[in-house]
């Protein structure tokens, strides 16, 4: 039989110009795609680096704290006036007084009531509790005088970390004549040694004048039509003239107030706050007494550009802290209470232990619910359920559930678990239940995929030697699917760990100081703690927020790492 076949098309000609062009185009397109991919990766990676770097930079300060180590006299009269050394008695002792006295002993010159309270506030309200704990652990301390670390308040801590008060230092040139009268000091010099500082103040005035002029310009040009408006205009316009006049004359002396930058003169171991400044003379208030034995002539002008009224630490507090630092009483250490304390209104005392335990308890509830139910559902649906319209519908719905916004699950939890079943509010039990709803679809989908990935030949082999369907599934298919199931479960758990919105709905957003011990205790979780702290005005909570993010990310990395290890370890080849 002879068949007539159509002629074959012409083959590829290596040298033909269109072939060369086509090849060149193909190479160019491949290069383009590669470059695009590389750009995307670099872009994404740089964002990750920036994000992590920022969190790291902001969060690291929260892991350290400053303490002032001072001799504390454990006065019998304050701690144990009856002399019984009874624990209840010791617990009720006036430890706050001990702290106050040991701090005041360092600054005997502080006598005014207002100043004393400012001085007392340098130390955290948690410091007396530390002393109480020390005495209860060792009652023999009573009656002795021992150096004890006293936790500083968050503002003092931030100042010592260099976060809250940016300053610039200017070494003093030339010698100063000093005359001290009471708390007032007068400084005179042969040359205009204060010229530079004065020029800075004048520059600040110029800026103020410009701002006032801008403010004036915003008023509508309706002069004379409205008395109220005129009065409003009059205020900045009169100030402008004054400020301009002061700013224009470089030699004119300036009086400094709380709305202007602070100038602190460090001299002979003391600190003088400048209140009046001229090129060659200055008058100031002695904040930290000068050491009469110190006769060194060198001095330093420290400039705090942020005015005292806008600062968390006043000039007096700065002087005391610098004094304590100069005397070697300040120590910096690891802030272990960040991990051992619950939440607190005082930033220096606030810790994440409550949130961490809350997260662990919540995830435990979620895991205990999700793993058996999720795997059971996956095995049933994948291996035993009849394939019909109903199971198809079920499958579609499970996939849809995985995409439901988490806040909806929170509302469901609020309606069902709290209002209908009357379960306790803010409890890890309810949080775990809600997160279980959230994670269940993920686990079912991952488990079904893992079960599907087990080659059917394994099940056939088991059936072939006379295993029942159930035996084949539970003895052969499920163990082989387990690594995949575990991976899916861990990723689902990591998802649950980072979930915030549904927990807000069931009250896990409350301010809870106590560290929870049971799944029915009120608790919060790490992401909610981040949410709570990020909202607070205290500067120190910013660092705590970033540090909590670091802890949360660390836990997430650990969990995902575990998932990868499990997958590597138990991955089998057929």
């Amino acid at each position: 039989m002879i068949e007539t076949r159509p002629p074959l098309p012409r083959g590829v000609d290596f040298e033909a110009p269109e072939t060369v062009l086509r090849v060149r185009r193909r190479y160019a397109s491949e290069r383009r795609f590669k470059a695009m991919g590389l750009c995307a990766v670099v872009f994404a990676a740089s964002f990750v680096v920036i994000l992590l770097g920022d969190i790291l930079r902001k969060g690291m300060p929260a892991f350290s704290e400053h303490r002032v180590v001072l001799p504390v006299a454990f006065d019998v009269g304050k701690l144990d006036p009856k002399g019984t050394r009874d624990m209840a008695e010791l617990r009720a002792g006036d430890y706050a007084a001990l702290v106050r006295e040991s701090l005041r002993a360092q600054f005997p010159e502080v006598s005014e009531r207002k100043e004393r309270r400012l001085l007392d506030a340098l130390v955290s309200t948690g410091a007396p509790d530390d002393l109480r704990a020390a005495v209860l652990a060792n009652p023999a301390l009573v009656g002795q005088t021992i150096s004890m670390p006293l936790l500083l308040s968050d503002d003092a801590d931030l100042f010592l970390k260099g976060e809250s008060a940016r300053n610039s230092r200017l070494m003093g040139m030339g010698s100063l004549e000093l005359a001290v009268q009471g708390k007032t000091a007068t400084l005179t010099a042969a040359q205009d040694v204060f010229g530079a500082s004065l020029a800075m103040i004048k520059a600040g005035l110029a800026k103020t004048a410009t701002e006032l002029e801008a403010e004036l310009a915003r008023f509508p040009a309706l002069a004379g039509t409205n008395a109220l408006l005129d009065a409003k205009r009059a205020e900045p316009s009169s100030r402008i003239a004054d400020v301009r006049a002061r700013e224009g004359d470089a030699a004119r002396a300036e009086t400094l107030d709380a709305t202007q930058p602070s100038l602190l003169l460090v001299l002979r171991g003391g600190i003088i706050k400048i209140t009046e400044l001229a090129p060659r003379t200055a008058t100031g208030q002695v904040l930290l007494p000068l050491d009469p034995r110190n006769t060194r002539p060198d001095w330093e002008m420290v400039r705090y550009l942020v005015p005292e009224s806008n600062r968390r630490v006043s000039d007096a507090e700065i002087a005391w802290l610098e004094g304590l630092r100069a005397r070697g009483f300040i120590e910096k250490g690891f802030a272990s209470r960040f991990f051992s304390n619950g939440d607190s209104r005082e930033p220096e005392l606030a810790g994440i232990r409550g949130a961490l335990i809350g997260s662990v308890l919540t995830l435990l509830v979620t895991l205990l619910l999700c793993l058996p139910i999720g795997v059971g559902a996956a095995v049933y649906l994948e291996e035993f359920a009849p394939k019909n319209r109903f199971t198809d519908l079920l499958e579609v719905n499970i996939n849809n559930l995985a995409a439901v916004p988490s806040i909806v699950f929170g509302l469901l939890g609020l309606a069902a678990f709290l209002n209908f079943f009357n379960l306790p509010r803010s409890a890890p039990l309810v949080g775990g239940l809600v997160l279980a709803l959230l994670v269940l679809p993920t686990i079912i989908i991952a488990s079904r995929a893992a079960l599907k990935a087990v080659p059917p030949s394994i099940k056939e082999a088991a059936l072939g030697v006379g295993a029942s369907h159930q035996q084949a599934v539970f003895q052969h298919v499920l163990p082989l699917a387990m690594p995949g199931i575990m991976t899916g479960t861990i990723i689902g758990m990591a998802h649950a760990l980072g979930e915030t919105a549904p927990l807000l709905m069931i009250g896990m957003v409350a301010f809870i100081v106590e560290v929870p011990h049971a799944i029915t205790d009120a608790a919060t979780v790490l992401p909610v703690q981040i949410y709570l702290w990020s909202d607070l005005p205290e500067l120190a909570f910013q660092a705590k927020t970033a540090a909590t993010i670091m802890v949360l990310l660390g836990v997430l990395f650990l969990m995902n790492g575990l998932a990868i290890v499990l997958r590597r370890q138990f991955e089998r080849r057929w």
């Binding site: 088991a462 072939g464 030697v465 295993a467 057929w574």
Partner: protein
């Protein structure tokens, strides 16, 4: 192509008159449907005891489908429907009162691709006996494992590494391990679905040799694409084409003197 096999006198079956004794397996009017597709049409065949029966035919002719009817492996396919009678030792295996798991313990199966469990060699063989409670003690189980591996001609190769994974063996060894696993529960019948299709010629030769030895104790039904293999190992051969059993008879007769034109065409390589 027309080579015939000299039966060994010691184990030879009365090939000329196989049906003188009662057949081990008998199928009458077997039809199989996959949904709407009529995959197997009115198959009637009798398989004598302690012999090798080969099913040959082009791909998609229904020979594997029929093989999987004999241990009801088709039950696992939801859309598959089987009608007609298949009896083993005159017992209807589609009787609803019969437990399919027990049936499969008596009708072992070896698959196309070696599929050892990803467990140790020992566990692979011990799984069946343990499942059916065939070994009351650990020693008895050890004995069964050793005997099964010996009968599968694998024991000498693996005796020092029984705890190694079954998947670490070579393809031919894996397939013999699967045979050992099948015979560990002492079935009457062993079904083999193209057991050598994934193996090289040397491993294939070993399996064929093994099949010839196993014939003394088991009834073996083998599906094969290789006509030489059917000629070498089987006493009787059945030729399937397009879902029907075209011709069945002694292997010598099928290969030397087929009655049907289609059989003739297939074994001489005209099609398939």
């Amino acid at each position: 192509m027309n080579q015939s096999m000299k039966p060994d006198p010691a184990t030879a079956m009365p090939v000329a008159s196989p049906l003188a004794a009662a057949p081990k397996i008998a199928a009458r009017g077997v039809n199989v449907y996959y949904g709407d597709k009529h995959a197997l049409k009115d198959v009637n065949v009798e398989i004598p005891e302690k012999s090798v029966m080969a099913f040959i035919g082009p791909s998609g002719c229904g020979k594997s489908t029929f093989l999987r009817c004999i241990n009801r492996m088709n039950d696992t396919i939801p859309i598959c429907r089987v009608t007609g009678d298949i009896t083993i030792d005159k017992r209807d295996i589609y009787d609803p009162a019969l437990d399919v798991v027990l049936l499969r313990a008596r009708v072992g199966m070896v698959f196309q691709k070696p599929n050892p469990f990803p467990k140790s060699i020992y566990e692979n063989v011990a799984y069946g006996p343990r499942l059916h409670g065939l070994a009351p003690t650990k020693t008895a189980l050890d004995d069964i494992v050793e005997a099964s591996l010996r009968r599968a001609s694998l024991f000498d190769e693996v005796k020092d590494r029984l705890n190694d994974s079954g998947t670490s063996l070579s393809g031919g060894q894996q397939q013999r391990l699967c045979i050992a696993r099948a015979i560990a529960v002492s079935p009457d019948v062993i079904l083999m679905d193209e057991p050598c299709s994934a193996l090289d010629p040397i491993a294939t030769a070993k399996i064929e040799e093994l099949i010839d030895e196993l014939r003394a104790n088991f009834t073996i039904v083998i599906v094969t694409h290789s006509m030489q293999q059917a000629a070498r190992v089987s006493q009787r051969t059945a030729f399937f084409h397009l879902g029907t059993l075209v011709e069945e008879g002694a292997t010598d007769q099928i290969f030397t003197n087929p009655r049907e034109r289609r059989t003739q065409d297939y074994i001489t390589g005209r099609f398939g």
